[in-house]
């Protein structure tokens, strides 16, 4: 009887532990939803290495879709307007304002994908304590990688609204590589969209940068990518122009649901200086090599081992 009680107690504990882990994933699921479905306004700070920038964000969704405006408050002015998946970036450059268009950017606080399945394959989620962020109570969640091929993330989700308050990327030594988090955050009640427009400088000319990568892909590529690092899958493949290069470059984009890596492949032209070696900047690692007359470059917010594996995974047909 005593033994049975002990067993019950043990099983009970196991059950509780499992439920906690599921709850942790639910917290992240909620954070992903809240960032897209709530209407809010606030200021967040992005910090990478020694550089830090504040950004004012207004996000609205009263069932008519997502509208957001982000204004960079420090240093070079920059303004981002997004509606659904479309993103337009306004950056003043001397006498001009350059307009860039993007698609499908997961922008803070909507860093987490709607579907957690991929992340669950590569990371373990563990709930931590309560920490205050930007005057609000945040529930800490640690996403630790199951292998050495990605960084760990420390996330703070708002206890009341569920929204992501802060995210930090940590290396294997638990050092913060970059972080992004709210300084202040309030929910919006007004449904007015009058804030949804860029501040226009009448004395400047506006130039559209039409660099949306072309969707066309080489019919028969002369390269082959095999044995990519575990947990990553290809999300996109484009032929695009890269500034300073005349010929189009193939860009393959891989993701594990959270971290992403770009793999660039291009034929090495006569007279062009090949790039080789490894370097890093904040959480971003670069790995370049030359193989069979091609330049291969891997770039991503992942450890060095991952970019080097990606670059080495490319082989060429003779």
């Amino acid at each position: 009887m005593r033994r049975l009680l002990l067993l019950c107690f043990f099983l009970g504990n196991v059950g509780q532990a499992l439920a906690e882990s599921d709850d942790t994933w639910l917290l992240l699921q909620k954070a992903s939803q809240a960032a897209r479905e709530l209407s809010y306004q606030g200021v967040f700070v992005y910090q990478s290495g020694s550089s830090a920038k504040s950004v004012q964000i207004t996000h609205m969704n009263f069932g008519q879709g997502e509208y957001a405006r982000m204004v960079v408050l420090d240093g070079q002015p920059r303004e981002v307007l997004s509606q659904g998946p479309d993103v337009v970036i306004f950056s003043p450059h001397n006498e001009k304002v350059v307009i860039e268009k993007r698609h499908r950017q997961s922008m803070f606080p909507a860093l987490l994908p709607a579907n957690m399945d991929n992340i669950k394959l590569s990371y373990l989620a563990k709930a931590g304590g309560i920490e205050r962020v930007g005057g609000r109570d945040g529930q800490v969640v640690i996403l630790s990688p199951k292998d050495q091929l990605r960084y760990a993330y420390k996330l703070w989700t708002d206890r009341e609204y569920g929204i992501l308050l802060k995210a930090a990327t940590l290396n294997e030594k638990n050092e913060v590589l970059e972080q992004i988090g709210f300084n202040q955050l309030t929910l919006l009640n007004s449904q007015k969209l009058d804030w949804f427009q860029p501040s226009v400088e009448y004395n400047k000319s506006y130039v559209v940068e039409d660099s949306m990568p072309a969707k066309t892909v080489n019919d028969v590529p002369d390269w082959l990518v095999s044995e990519i690092p575990q947990g990553y899958h290809k999300v996109d493949e484009v032929m695009r122009t890269v500034p300073g290069k005349q010929n189009p470059v193939t860009q393959l984009i891989y993701s594990d649901g959270l971290a992403s890596v770009s793999l660039f492949i291009e034929p090495l032209l006569k007279g062009a200086a090949p790039r080789t070696g490894h370097t890093s900047m904040g959480a971003t690692n670069f790995f370049a090599l030359v193989a069979d007359g091609h330049q291969v470059m891997a770039v991503g917010e992942v450890p060095e081992a991952t970019v080097s594996q990606f670059a080495s995974a490319v082989s060429f047909k003779k």
Binding site: Y46, V87, E100, Q197, P213, V238, K245, I253
Partner: protein
């Protein structure tokens, strides 16, 4: 003119379902007036110099305005010439040795490789950030990136 902008937006700039630019433009007539003077140039910000459409005309006009300078050629003495020649000869020798050394390091395609550790490939970083779905950094890049891209 407004139609033209609209056409540009529709044809050259595929902005499926995204009318926020147009909202911004049409919300104030002053802005739309201003907009009609905008020059739409593709792929300008990164790498390529940003030139307005009438840049060539303006440059040629400026050159036309420049006075032509007519100056007599200075005579060079034989002494100076021989000095120059000897300097040139020694320079050539140094260059030759340097060239010999370089030849040993050169890659098959004729150019020495660049170590990216000494030279961060910002163009690839920008290309990565513009496409990668989880990049928080793109719209708040450090100023140095923006400067590098507008060179």
């Amino acid at each position: 003119m407004k139609d033209k902008i609209s056409a540009l937006m529709d044809d050259e700039i595929p902005m499926d379902e995204s009318d926020h630019l147009m909202i911004a433009i049409s919300s104030e007539s002053e802005v739309s007036d201003c907009w009609s003077t905008y020059h739409l140039i593709g792929d300008v910000m990164r790498g390529n110099p940003m030139l307005s459409h009438d840049f060539t005309e303006r440059l040629m006009a400026k050159i036309g305005e420049e006075p032509t300078v007519l100056a007599p050629k200075a005579k060079r003495s034989f002494f100076n010439m021989s000095m120059l020649l000897s300097v040139a000869a020694s320079m050539a020798a140094v260059t030759f040795v340097g060239w010999m050394v370089l030849q040993q390091q050169v890659q098959p395609n004729g150019v020495a490789p660049i170590e990216i550790a000494n030279n961060i490939p910002t163009e690839y970083l920008l290309a990565h950030q513009s496409m990668a779905s989880s990049s928080a950094a793109y719209y708040i890049q450090p100023a140095s990136f923006t400067q590098a891209s507008s060179k």
